[in-house]
Symmetry: C2
Subunit: 228 residues, 2 copies
DNA sequence: CAGAAACGAGAGCAGTGCTCTTGACAGTGA
DNA sequence: TCACTGTCAAGAGCACTGCTCTCGTTTCTG
């Protein structure tokens, strides 16, 4: 439609990126909810109203930042060193996720913290959000194929509505037993619960610093889903 | 010192409670970060500045609300029906926590969501925050004493710094093996990770509605810590 | 080259948390 | 009874916010 293709477009793309960069900097210092369009525009030496040429609203800026954060986390997790040993790879992914979260706590809070009031996450965020779980599922599937995944004997096979819901995951990781897939969701929630507790200060007084606890949990969760 | 002891004090206490009630109502509708002192004062038919006689700042109001939320959640969990069967009691506590969280999502987000920027949780919140984990520890200890807790054979005994950190928990639940205590922290983070995912919309597309998944996770986590 | 589209600047609106001052009132000791 | 003291609500005001609208200017395009 509106295919302007030249200098103007390049300038626009650059400025859009500059705005996001400034927003991320502000995010890191004052947090998501205190993110101020006026402060960003001040930083960039422009007037606040000009910002609305690039993002229709504060929410739209936030959406862009959220998608970027999901993508950055997904990329960090996918870049975790893979050596072929399923348990080692699993632990490496856990470590990569934690490292990213600790390096970018405000961006982590943006995607895994409380939803921003009045802000409705658009469907656009679903795909980048699923990169980490898809990565774990892929690892499990490969482990299954190479015989390194043994269904834990005490893992109950889902029935009823739970079995139905699991089918979505079966389609994503064919061959992995439903009982393991349910456990995958359990450990997925465990991972991010653990990270949120660490980053949000809930572990202070018990397992903080959490390095060793996190390492132990990684191993035990790998065993919990049946990796060996 | 300033010991006015009569009608004035009573009026003050009542109005303080009224302010918190109005704040909670607003919390439930617009969320924590959009909580406005002016809107509360408007609701109560007073002028915004008068509110500062009762709460020195917005943060102080939030702190009061946070402590109330922790206490409400703790009370709800402690009120879970206990029938003597450890696994049944465990599941009942899980269900009570979830019920409270689903009934009070904004208050849940207030205490388990991202920390409010610029807001530092005072030490006052630590004690009410520990009611739920203490409840779980107490259950485990009683199960241990009655022989209903068997340390899972694949639960590694913590060593090094992790063993040291576990000692704090050993003091709280004497008799419960360290390996089980580490697993208790794991399932504790799992519980609230699962709840956060459900309430914050992260499960949409996979395990939502989460009733059966939650029930299955409750049971599997009870087994994971060694309850039978 | 003319028209259209995009752009930055600026003023302005309604709202926010918070501070300070002012005048009214309640409780208390002489 | 009366003056004193501390508490209270009210209101104006400050600096900030997201957002809208208008106005000239610049840039692209048919």
């Amino acid at each position: 439609m509106n295919a302007g293709r030249t200098a103007r477009e390049r300038a626009r793309a650059e400025l859009t990126e500059e705005i996001k960069t400034a927003a991320r900097q502000q995010l890191a210092t004052v947090g998501a909810e205190a993110l101020s369009l006026r402060a960003i525009s001040r930083e960039l030496g422009m007037v606040s109203s000009a910002l609305y040429r690039y993002f229709a609203s504060r929410d739209e800026l936030l959406t862009a930042l959220i998608i970027d954060a999901y993508d950055a986390l997904g990329a960090a997790a996918e870049a975790a060193p893979a050596g072929g040993d399923p348990v080692g790879d699993w632990i490496a992914i856990y470590a990569a996720v934690r490292d990213w979260a600790r390096a970018n706590p405000q961006e982590y809070a943006l995607i895994y913290g409380s939803p921003i009031s009045g802000y409705q996450a658009p469907q656009t965020t679903v795909q980048p959000a699923s990169r980490v779980p898809l990565l774990l599922l892929g690892l499990l599937q490969r482990a299954q194929e190479s015989g390194r995944l043994v269904t834990p004997p005490d893992a109950p096979t889902p029935s009823g509505a739970l079995a139905q819901q699991t089918e979505v995951l079966v389609a994503l990781a064919p061959g992995v037993p439903p009982a393991v897939l349910v456990r995958t969701v359990i450990v997925w929630t465990q991972l991010f619960g653990m990270l949120s507790f660490e980053l949000f200060g809930q572990l202070v007084g018990s397992m903080d610093p959490a390095d060793e606890f996190f390492a132990s949990a990684s191993r035990q969760m790998a065993a919990f889903v049946g990796l060996s």
